[in-house]
Amino acid sequence: MSSILPQLLTGLATASSLFLISAGLTIIFGVSRIVNFSHGSLMMLGAYIGWSILTRLPREPEWFALGILATALATALIGVVLEMAVLRRVYRSPELFQLLATFGVVLIIQDVTLLLWGPTELPLPRPRWLRGFVEVAGSRFPLYDLVLIAIGPLVLGLLWLALNRTRWGTLVRAATLDREMVAALGVDQRRLFTSVFALGAGLAGLGGALSLPNASANLGIDLSVIADAFVVVVVGGLGSLPGAFLASVLIGVLQAFGIVLVPKITLVLVFLVMAVVLVFRPNGLLGRPQTEAREATVAAPVVRPAPPALRLLGAAALALAVAAPFIVGGYYLTVLTDACVAILFAASLHFMMGPGGMASFGHAAWFGIGAYAAGLLLHWAGAPMPLGLLAAPVAAGIVSGLFGWFVVRLSGVYLAMLTLAFAQIAWAVSFQWVEVTGGDNGLLGVWPPDWARDPRPYYWMALALSVGVALLLRRALYAPYGYALRAARDSAPRARAIGLDVERLRIVALVIAGAACGLGGAIFAYGKGGVFPTYISIPHSVEALLMVLLGGLQTVAGPIIGALVYTGLADILVRSTDLWRLVLGAVIVVLVVAFPEGIAGAVRRLWLRGREA
């Protein structure tokens, strides 16, 4: 009994931290409808800036408080710069491009932070008063955690006042409902958005600085935080501040008790909470059904067959690909094999995202599940490669079907965030379940049989499988099923009205995409001789998105071209500069701002324009 109260307090302290990171995210989303991927990066900057400020200030409590506030202000300023330089330019772009642009910012901030503060973790030397303890129910409880517990509700209260008792807040709330109307009433939206973004960024910075005494400034904060924040925001209901608070408390407290009862369950527990909440309340605890943000929406891209000349070009490229082993040597052959895998990776994502209308930020999950299915079968049952290549798509397909059953009723942004959260959990399982998966060391010795050891036959096999699957995906797209799927994407109510089972169509799309992606994972695993948790990492998921969006959603060839271009670019980049994240991030941001339709889309438009003129 005596351990309940301290455990509860620990949970509440966690809840406060969770709330601080999710509050800014949910406020920014509410107004701008942008899911800000770089929110975790802003928190990371807050931690680093906070470290730099706090280590230079006297160590008394009042200076500590001042340093924290200065950090929040500094991060808010960075937020202003970010909003004006990047986000402002993509408010009218499709959702995914916005997400992608903010991910470009994540990459840029990663490298900039690395350049400024170096790769080592920076712990904050804690003054004595910060190390104090309070006697609670017979056990010692850290004083700082009590401070944290107080800060959460305090921030919630202040935000509530700002939103409900000021003109600024009234305008913000009006803009979340109908920004066009707000503009027509003479309110400068751009300034409003900038101020909201600054507030959100400031909150992230505050959270980062306040996390310092219990943790440290390190380069892993950005992605670990963003997954947590996504879960909290989704559970609480997108855009709902009280919802975010409630979800923080729920998750924080459950986590605190979960750790005591079943130490390894924490991550799965978070997912379970999310699943249960979403089954009963698809819009989160206090969220409301998403109304269409009133603004001219861009019609979803129509996928059309390629013109004959382009098909000829594709056939020529394929012939060249088949002949490649006679032309290039070992290293480039492995790059080409990677490209085949990338094609599966991108084409499968395109299938659910383009025609299916379901964006995913966790596509690497299926890739990893396929790879682990093959690897585990070999490792624990000695199954040969053909069996592994068969098991991989089956396993990934089954899991994505199960996952689909939970999420299929959710709309775009929720779905994208949940795929990310699910991928994080798959990653955590592969990372933490050391006994089975080998943890960080991965599974080694996952080699193909002798006949496929040589790069050439292996490349041909990869090429045959990826082209075959890509053609099958294309076939499905132009089959009645594909038309039905696109109808469901364009208007679910109308599709239902003509008798289509929208949920089933979507689950099937998820299963197909998951299976194709899982096959890619297995091919990759045998090619590299191992399976590692990095296969499921967030950056890997984003690679798939990049490929698809580079190529554009409008064409079947798009993801393939995107995969090839991306693989080539990444190969060159990684070999030529240490700052590849910075360069890649900048390229993403520029591309999103300049080509909202992707490479293939732009080429196609130019091609057609040439024809029509």
């Binding site: 709330r173 409902l177 027509a184 003479g186």
Partner: protein
């Protein structure tokens, strides 16, 4: 006060407004008459800047405002009351009015909530009610009141009588007449001339994105052929 010349607006490839032209004089009430889909709403959205016109000029107080940002156009003294009301459903009546509030304009008696509640007594009795929990007529009054809080010199009223009960329509007409008496310039859009009859001084008949007829209300009443050709259902 407002002059539209050769205005063209496209939605994607569809050419909606085709060389639209009309004028509204200071203190005047002019009505754009036309069937559903004739381009009345698009004309209004083009004027306030919610839709970008492809070409043409929109002179307001002598300044070309075509293509400017909506908030700039609104701040220059143009008020817009949209056809589907668009009250902020989660905001109370007072908060809705607050969103519309802009600084007082030179030479105009500034609008305050108190003054607006004289014009729309209903609203005064439900200051703290969320916009989403009001009847259609109440919402329509709130949108007009909200726009007036910006102290406009001219208001664009897009079908203010649409979907309202006859009694409410009557009250609406009286309120608009009161505004006109204050000297407010009004551009009204309506599907049939009945509601406009008692309010407007002049009419421009719109058909397929073009202005096809223009004249006084009396002339329109007299011209049976125009009404039969463009306004009959």
């Amino acid at each position: 006060m407002l002059a539209v010349h050769g205005l063209n607006t496209h939605y994607g490839r569809a050419h909606i407004l085709q060389d639209m032209a009309f004028e509204v004089g200071a203190g005047e009430a002019m009505v754009l008459l036309g069937r559903n889909g004739a381009g009345k709403s698009t004309a209004m959205k083009s004027i306030i800047g919610l839709v970008q016109p492809t070409s043409g000029r929109i002179l307001f107080g002598g300044r070309d405002i075509a293509g400017e940002a909506p908030h700039r156009i609104a701040r220059s003294g143009l008020g817009y009351v949209p056809e589907d009301r668009r009250v902020f459903a989660d905001l109370t009546v007072m908060e809705n009015l607050e969103v519309g509030r802009q600084p007082a304009r030179e030479g105009l008696r500034p609008w305050t909530p108190a003054r607006l509640f004289e014009l729309f007594p209903n609203l005064g009795r439900m200051r703290d009610r969320p916009g989403g929990r009001m009847s259609g007529g109440e919402q329509q009054m709130l949108t007009i009141a909200r726009t007036l809080m910006g102290n406009p010199r001219l208001v664009l009223l897009d079908e203010p009588s649409e979907g309202l009960a006859p009694v409410i329509v009557q009250a609406m007409a009286e309120a608009i007449l009161a505004l006109k008496a204050e000297g407010l310039t009004i551009l009204l859009a309506e599907q049939n001339s009945h509601f406009a009859e008692g309010i407007a001084d002049r009419a421009t008949v719109v058909e397929k994105g073009r202005a096809v007829w223009s004249g006084t209300m009396a002339a329109l009443r007299a011209d049976e052929s125009v009404r039969a050709q463009y306004l009959a259902l």
